[in-house]
């Protein structure tokens, strides 16, 4: 097992799957000779050629729409959207088309494809309003889609392999702050992490902190600090935000009776709202405190200037403070 970064884990999942299954092909802006703006497809153009690694025109609806056509014709396309911020032009193809193809055809057709996109803040002063968004709620609301947001190299690889093999469209959103900041051992070859199953990052009996994506690491840091003061926080990494791992959410909430849901995306109608609603409905008897949420404030996205960006971003301190508030309840 090699120690690899998150972006390398993603790259190697595509590489291995392309070697294994010649139905897999890639398309997106700059995925070819340049290897993607974050290097996620580095070397694949050289290995597999321009027929399988397609530098698309600058047109996101086309990237997704053409991938849908490929999927309908029996291929397994992986479409890259250069930044999640630039996925809205493809929204119609994703939510009106890909998501509904199986249902609307009464199972006659299906649409196995992956839409990869980097999301979140964290590179050069967070990339500002249009290179930092976390738009997963817009997709997690839509039946017919699956939405995966890995937080570690291992999960990134295992979930991407699962996503490519999935018989339905999967949105695979990669947190760009993780691309090169993490390194861990990742199995080579066959290694699939099932979509829809969360992970207990750290066990704890006092509080649950339910989260996903880059925030997992901030929550883990906050939990670490509290542990030294005798407060045991259970940190849950959802890994998929659609479908949610309802069992894991409910069992952790019932165990600890105190739940904080935290994510980088805007709070209102975010994934946290759904998790909080589930906990409120299913764990009423066991709750010792109100379900609390932490998320992006009511501004469009992360601003450019660091002094403004810090208002948006969570970080371990804000999470720790909120966990303390919950513990003290």
């Amino acid at each position: 097992m090699a120690e690899v970064t998150y972006v390398e884990a993603i790259r190697s999942a595509m590489e291995e799957e392309m070697r294994r299954d010649d139905r897999v092909l890639l398309m997106g802006e700059d995925v070819g000779a340049k290897g993607g703006v974050f290097g996620a497809t580095a070397g694949l153009f050289q290995e597999f050629g321009e027929e399988r690694v397609i530098d698309s025109p600058l047109a996101e609806a086309a990237i997704v729409g053409v991938a849908i056509g490929c999927a309908l014709a029996g291929l397994r396309p992986v479409a890259e959207i250069q930044f999640l911020d630039f996925i809205p032009p493809a929204m119609d193809q994703i939510i009106s088309e890909a998501a509904k193809i199986r249902y609307r055809s009464n199972n006659d057709w299906n649409c196995p494809m992956v839409i990869r996109a980097p999301c979140g803040g964290g590179v050069h002063v967070h990339g500002a309003l249009y290179h930092s968004q976390s738009l997963e709620a817009l997709f997690a609301h839509v039946p017919g889609l699956k939405v995966v947001m890995p937080s570690t190299p291992r999960d990134a690889k295992g979930l991407l392999l699962a996503a490519i093999r999935d018989p339905d469209p999967v949105c695979f959103f990669e947190h760009k702050a993780l691309y090169r900041s993490l390194r861990e051992e990742v199995p080579e070859g066959e290694y699939v992490v099932p979509i829809g199953k969360g992970r207990v990052v750290r066990e704890g009996r006092d509080l649950s902190c339910i989260t996903y994506g880059a925030t997992v690491h901030e929550a883990a840091t906050a939990a670490e600090r509290l542990a030294s003061q005798g407060i045991q926080v259970e940190v849950i990494d959802l890994r998929s935000v659609r479908p949610l791992d309802r069992d894991l959410i409910v069992s952790s909430a019932r165990k600890t009776g105190k739940v904080l849901v935290a994510h980088e995306a805007n709070l209102a109608l975010g994934v946290g709202a759904e998790v909080a609603a589930i906990v409120a409905e299913e764990c009423f008897q066991q709750l010792d405190a109100p379900v609390m949420r932490l998320g992006g404030p009511e501004i469009p996205a992360i601003p450019f200037a660091e002094s403004l960006a810090e208002v948006y971003c969570l970080g371990p301190d804000k999470i720790e403070a909120k966990l303390r508030e919950l513990a003290a309840y």
Binding site: E51, P57, A59, V66, P89, Q93, Y103, W109, G144
Partner: protein, 334 residues
Amino acid sequence: MALTESAPAEADQMSQDRLRSMYRDMVLGRLLDERILVLNRQGRAPFAISGQGHEAAQVGVGYALRRGHDWLVPYYRDLTLVLVMGMEPRDHLMAALGRAADPNSGARQMPGHYGSRAHNIVTTGSPVATQILHAVGVAQAFRYRHEDKVVVVSVGEGGTSEGDWHEGLNWAAIYHLPVIFLVENNSFAISVPQSRQMAVPHVADRAIGYGMPGVVVDGGDVMAVHEAATQAVARARRGEGPTLLEAVCVRLQSHSSDDDQRRYRTADDLAEMRRHDPVERFRIQLEASAVLADGDADEIRLECQRLIEAAQAEADKAPVPDSATALLHVYGEG
């Protein structure tokens, strides 16, 4: 952009059987379309959308394809075209009446949303022009697997105003993909006339800007359409890339059963249009050239009527979908 008209010699080259078959498919499409409108007026079919006036364009194109080999990504006016591809009147009466046996969608979608894997007809939804990109993707897959298949995708002239249209033609041209972009131009998008949809006389005027041939053809002239489509298909099959084929049609009925075109079109315009019925025109042509003998047309009509009667009898008795199935097939099994 070239304007093609049916070469007089062309009809001769086709076998008489084939010509009769083309006529028969046009009649079948027309009669089935009329039947569905009747069911709608009777309050039995909640929604109907008619392809009357587009039959020649559809048969002309459909007969240029290899059935069971080539693919179609249709739009809602393509009743006759999906029949040519192999679907049956029964399929559409099931859809019109919302029966479980509707092969397009199991009565999940409104009628007119065609799709059938068995016949290489890609599933379609309602959003206009999204299908353009699917066809390009299908063609990309053909190319990737070195198959000699072609795909036809159809759309109205209104649909060409959507961004997806542009993105699709551009992509297909760059990669020389085997797609025929069929525009069934009936000069209206619901109530909006072509002059408010584009500032050029022909959609095909745009082809040059993508680097592909653009052809305008009289969509009421089945042989002219067939000739143009055959060339486009041959070109695509040779790996030379896409063609934009514009068939100028008439929309004999209102946009759909929810619309009344008398509210926004003049009586003169409507009357003039009715003189361009493509089914009638082909009949006269075939009778003049003795492909149809006296009484043949009536016989074909009768045969089609019988087919439709039988299909409707079947659909009438067919069950509606079981409520318990409503939650199925959002995702696959694994």
